[in-house]
Subunit: 218 residues, 2 copies
DNA sequence: GCGACTTCTGTCACAATGTGACACGACGAT
DNA sequence: ATCGTCGTGTCACATTGTGACAGAAGTCGC
C-alpha cells in the first residue's frame, strides 16, 4: 500500500472527525463545508472529492452495514428462510461493531449524537436505506428463486429487518450510552422482531404460483 | 372562502401539475425551480412561498396520508391492539384514495411515475416517514399507556406498518397501473403483513407498568 | 366608491451546496 | 531521471433556498 493511499485514508478520517466535532459543537446546519475543509486545511473542492456531499458524511455507517449484510446474505446456505438470513446479516453488523477500534467506536457514538439532534439526518439514513432495500430485496428474491420485480415478500423481509435495526439504533434508554449498550439494544430489538413474526411465514410460498387450491393462507 | 384563498389553492395546484409534467418530460433533476415557476408565470421566489423546497413537491401525498392515519388513530377504541389501529389507519388512506377526484388520482399516478424513476425521491418520502414515525409512535405509545421515549414496540408497530405501505406502493406488477390497481396492491400488502405477524404480539407486554404493586411511587 | 389595512408578489442581494475545467505538483514505475 | 498518473487548488458557474423591501392586489369599514 503506497504513500498515496495511506495519505488518502488519513485525510478521509481527518475530514470525518473534524466534521463530527464541528457538528456536535455548533450544529449540523450551522456548519459549512468551508469550515470543515478549513479545519483540515484542504479546499472545499477537495472535500467534495472525498465525500460526494455534506450529507454523505453521516452515511458511512449505513453503507458499511449494508456491505456486511450483503456479504452475509451471499454466504448463508441457500435453503435458509430469508428472514433468518437477514437476521444473521444484522447480527454480523453488531459483531463488527463490537470488534471495532476505539476510534471507530468513538466516531459511531459521535455520529449517533449528531443524528439524535437532527431527525432529518436519520431520515437521510433511512432514505439511503430505501435504495439499499432494493438491492437487498433483489438478493433475497434471488435466493428464494422468484422474480425480484414483483415479490412483495422479499421487500417486506428486508424492510422489516431494517426497521428493526433502525428502531434499535434510535431508541436508547440513555442519552449517552456506550457502544456496548447500543449494540445490546439493537440486538434486543432484533430478537423482539423475531418473536413478533409467525415462524415460517417466509418459507411457504416461495415456489411460484403453484396450485391455487393449495395456496397457503399467507 | 374569499377570492384570495381560492386563488392560492389554484396557484398551488397549478405549480404541482406543471412540476409533475416537467418532471415526467425531462426528469426531476434536470427540471429547475426557475422552469417550474416560469411555466405558471410566477417568480421563483413565489414558488418557495408555496412549497418550502423543490423536494417538498413530492411529499404532499405522504403528508396527506399521515394526517389521515393520525386522525384514525385518535378515533379508534382505546383497548384495541395498536397494530390493528394502524391497519385501520392505513386502510383509511386507501379509502381516501379511492374516493379522490379524477384530478387527484391523475396527480397521484404521475407522482408515482416520477418516484419510480428516482429512487432518491422514494427515499425522501421515507425520510419524511422517519419523522412521521416518531409522532405516530408517540400516539401509539400513549394509547398503550407506556412512555413513548423508550418503547420499542410502539416504534416497531409504526415502522412495520409504514414499511408495508411503502412496499405496496413501490412494487407494482405493471408499469402504468390505474389507481384501483395500486390501491388493491397496497391493500394486499397490508393483508400480507398482517398474516406474517403473530396474532396478539403487540398486546402482551403493554401492562408492564400496569401492575399496581410494582408501580413505584416515585 | 374611497381609504386604510392586510396579504401576496416581484426584485434584489446573498449564502451554501455542488460541479466542470484547467494547471500545477507530488507520487509511482521503469 | 523521466514520464505518466493522480491528487489538489483555483476559478467560474449553476441551483437551491432565504431575508429585506417596495409595490400590487385583495379585504374591510365608511
Amino acid at each position: 500500500m503506497g504513500l498515496r493511499e495511506r495519505k488518502k485514508e488519513k485525510t478521509r478520517l481527518a475530514i470525518l472527525d473534524a466534521a463530527l466535532d464541528l457538528f456536535l459543537e455548533q450544529g449540523y446546519d450551522s456548519t459549512t463545508v468551508e469550515q470543515i475543509a478549513g479545519s483540515v486545511d484542504i479546499s472545499p473542492r477537495t472535500f467534495f472529492r472525498y465525500f460526494s456531499s455534506k450529507d454523505s458524511l453521516v452515511l458511512w455507517f449505513h453503507d458499511h452495514g449494508e456491505e456486511i449484510i450483503t456479504e452475509t446474505l451471499r454466504s448463508r446456505p441457500p435453503g435458509e428462510p430469508p428472514f433468518t438470513s437477514m437476521v444473521h446479516g444484522m447480527r454480523a453488523v453488531l459483531g463488527d461493531m463490537q470488534g471495532s477500534t476505539p476510534q471507530d467506536a468513538e466516531r459511531f457514538l459521535k455520529l449517533r449524537r449528531v443524528l439524535d439532534d437532527q431527525p432529518r439526518l436519520v431520515g437521510l439514513s433511512v432514505a439511503r436505506g430505501a435504495e439499499t432495500e432494493r438491492r437487498l430485496a433483489a438478493e433475497v428474491a434471488a435466493r428464494r428463486g422468484v422474480d425480484p420485480a414483483d415479490d412483495r415478500v422479499s421487500h417486506l423481509v428486508v424492510a422489516i429487518a431494517m426497521a428493526a435495526v433502525r428502531v434499535g439504533f434510535e431508541c436508547p434508554h440513555k442519552d449517552e450510552p456506550d457502544l456496548g449498550e447500543v449494540v445490546e439494544q439493537m440486538g434486543e430489538t432484533i430478537t423482539l422482531v423475531e418473536s413478533m413474526l409467525r415462524p415460517g411465514w417466509d418459507v411457504q410460498d416461495a415456489r411460484e404460483p403453484a396450485d391455487p387450491r393449495e395456496a397457503p393462507d399467507v
